[in-house]
Symmetry: C2
Subunit: 309 residues, 2 copies
């Protein structure tokens, strides 16, 4: 095997919060169980945000409780602030992820704070974590790292400086998110390299969107420069409101197919992963699911030699 990667499934959070329908909790749990059965080892199961803002996520504590029953699975939740972090610690998550926008305009729109205010908030969250939940990992995901629909181009120097500030604030890893689907492979390689030069091993996941069809190419580019954790969403759930019909997040099934075909071990059984679309479809019967590999099927002669699931 050339190498291994960790596929971090974000559909139950990023996907479900992007659709207007709320998936009933029993379907969420079935879906998560199916993901685990396929070998998925890290799942962002929800977010701890105001249920007024995102009613789809109101049951996240219960979802966490269920997900924690699966041995060996890292249970993650997104939190936008200290209050969310405290609730997440109480719920017993293994890992929280905090969105920090490199674009000031997007940051204000998304979390009503400047990037600098978010760094300050995270500093406090790290202190609380150190005191009350020392085993919980803290990831910061730099949103709009590759461009912003509000301000356009995002200065790479600012992204690098923000990554450094976040590590100084005490986070365990910093990922880079192409929230708006504006990244290209050359930029992905350059920016991950620059960030790694400054924060080293704390460089985290690539979170790519497929808005302009470059999702997998950007993941390949990130892999080429040493990224080994990739966010993805089953069925490409997580649409971009301004891109009708365009799938949002990178499709987990296609990403896993790409890596497994390359001989890069994901630990995920593709047939079982494709089967995990069924509980998703049942739980969200009105949503379109994306993914080319599920439609085309696995190629004739394709064998996943190193998967034990």
């Amino acid at each position: 095997m050339e190498s291994s990667v960790l596929i971090s499934e974000v559909g139950p959070r990023d996907g479900l919060q992007s659709v207007s329908t709320t998936m009933p909790i029993e379907h969420k749990l079935c879906w998560i169980d199916a993901l685990v059965a396929a070998g998925v080892r890290e799942i962002e199961v929800g977010s701890f945000v105001s249920p007024k803002l995102l009613p789809q996520m109101a049951d996240t504590a219960l979802v966490v409780e269920h997900a924690l029953r699966h041995e060996g699975v890292t249970v993650m939740a997104l939190v936008p602030n200290l209050r969310g972090a405290q609730t997440a610690f109480d719920a017993g998550v293994h890992k929280i992820t905090l969105p920090v926008s490199a674009s000031k305009a997007h940051s204000l729109a998304n979390v009503k704070k400047t990037p600098q205010e978010m760094v300050q908030e995270i500093h406090t969250i790290v202190s609380v974590r150190n005191d009350l939940a020392p085993n919980v990992q803290i990831e910061a995901g730099i949103s709009t790292a590759f461009g912003c629909t509000l301000q356009g181009i995002v200065d790479e120097d600012e992204v690098v400086a923000l990554a450094k500030a976040l590590v100084d604030a005490g986070v365990d890893e910093v990922g880079l998110s192409d929230t708006t689907g504006m990244a290209n492979p050359a930029q992905v390689r350059r920016l991950f390299n620059r960030v790694r030069d400054v924060i080293g091993q704390k460089t985290g996941a690539a979170h790519m969107h497929n808005t302009r069809g470059l999702g997998l190419a950007n993941c390949l580019a990130a892999y080429d420069v040493g990224v080994r954790t990739f966010d993805a969403s089953l069925g490409g759930l997580g649409g971009c409101p301004y891109a009708p019909g365009a799938s949002g997040n990178v499709v987990t099934e296609d990403l896993v197919f790409m890596f497994e075909a390359m001989g890069v071990n994901t630990g995920i059984n593709l047939e079982k992963l494709i089967a995990a679309r069924e509980p998703l479809r049942i739980g969200l019967p009105t949503e379109s699911l994306y993914g080319m590999t599920p439609e085309a099927g696995l190629p004739k002669g394709f064998v996943q030699e190193f998967v034990n699931v």
Copy 2:
């Protein structure tokens, strides 16, 4: 600019012969004119095959005649055999492309000849070219180079040997085609490197399909190992019959966006390229067009600095 690439538009051939409707010639010509206006410098405008087999291509000689009026555009046609090559030479094409399958099963199904018999045929075609049309370039495209839906895995040694045999038969370049959408980036890098080791500068285009969503990632992989010519189809026309809803060829619009965003010059104006979908849509009103970039639009702040069209 990091580099330049040549985008070879295959939609008028690969796309139109894959759909059951025949596009009326006046629409074909409008579409080709729009592609040229966008800066496309090489177009596979049709194929010289029996009109009984492919009535969609019956007017190829007239399409060639029209396309030849555009200065600086390489007018290509696909030919499956000597007879087609002679008709193409008579029509005045700049370049012919010959499909040679690495898979014996696919070769027999596609052209009713073994790969070896095709090499022999091409040997004859090269002689005729040398005598009657010495300025016409001859490309061989190795189909099913990365896998075959009939026989499954295709031996890489056989692909390399076939490339060598084709160069020995006198072709000017040999491309590699992922006819069935089974390629992955590691394999693309490995196989192009191996072929280049043997035939050097005669290594030609990457012709990738998007059947499993890896089209752009595979083009990126090919670019990384020095490939500078890429086949693509406007609107992703050229569906795969066994993959319903899956676009076939790599979408030209997305591929050009990827390269231009990377700072790699295609010479193609993206807005005009997206506008070229309109004559395609008018000419084929019942077909679905694919492409994420046209749906999402160009990113805010995106500028094509080096395009003069």
